[in-house]
């Protein structure tokens, strides 16, 4: 009986720890994604666009550099979409 109680208690503690970890991950995920979104859109995209505009690149180089903001936006969208697809 004592062994059974000990096992039940251990199992409950393990479950609680696992749940705590899951919730911490959830909060971390939200904060991480929000910070990533703000940094990418408010910092990365304007800085890249400004750098392209003030440099003298042209042709293929300009085309590829011009795709960087698009890729940043895509990356962010995928980062937001993947937890959605997994239903958290």
């Amino acid at each position: 009986m004592l062994d059974f109680m000990k096992m039940t208690a251990k199992s409950a503690v393990a479950n609680a720890r696992s749940e705590d970890r899951a919730q911490t991950n959830l909060v971390g995920l939200f904060i991480g994604l929000m910070i990533a979104a703000i940094v990418a859109i408010q910092v990365f995209i304007p800085v890249v666009n400004d750098a392209i505009a003030s440099s003298n690149v042209s042709g293929t180089e300009a085309t590829i550099l011009g795709l960087l903001p698009l890729f940043a936006a895509l990356l962010l969208l995928i980062a937001l979409a993947s937890p959605l697809m997994r239903r958290i």
Partner: protein
């Protein structure tokens, strides 16, 4: 789910919801066509003064100068020249803008265009879906 779990989910959703408006504002304030009103600069006759924007919409700029007797609208081509690509204003020698005069420049610029604007515009929607998804998933789990 125990009470602690419920509290943690509510905290997570509250954080996300609180950050939703800033995310939405950041997206709308940094994508598509943006207007800048009265950005200040100091005239340096003959030298281009760089402004914050880039890819300025053609002929959308208005330049005001103050030589010490109040604000006056400057004339493009006579008083200043404007580079749309890098958003820089150059006071022309022989124009009415004195060296060191205070400038105020208003203009529209293309912060992002095409697919970037479209995809970035979807980000607030995905954030909202993520918040809703978490709530729905946890409710299904027996919240």
């Amino acid at each position: 789910m125990n009470a602690k779990g419920i509290a943690a989910v509510l905290i997570a959703v509250t954080i996300a919801a609180t950050l939703f408006m800033p995310i939405s504002n950041v997206v709308t304030g940094n994508t598509g066509t943006q207007s800048v009103v009265n950005e200040t600069a100091t005239a340096d006759v003959g030298t281009a003064v760089d402004l914050d924007g880039y890819e300025v919409v053609g002929d959308s700029e208005t330049v005001y100068y103050d030589n010490g007797s109040g604000w006056t609208t400057a004339t493009s081509g006579t008083d200043y020249s404007f580079d749309d690509n890098s958003a820089s204003v150059t006071a022309l020698s022989g124009g009415s803008i004195d060296d060191g005069a205070a400038l105020r420049v208003s203009y529209d610029y293309q912060a992002t265009s095409g697919s970037t604007t479209t995809i970035a515009g979807l980000i607030p929607l995905f954030v909202a879906l993520l918040i809703l998804g978490v709530l729905a998933a946890k409710t299904m789990d027996g919240l």
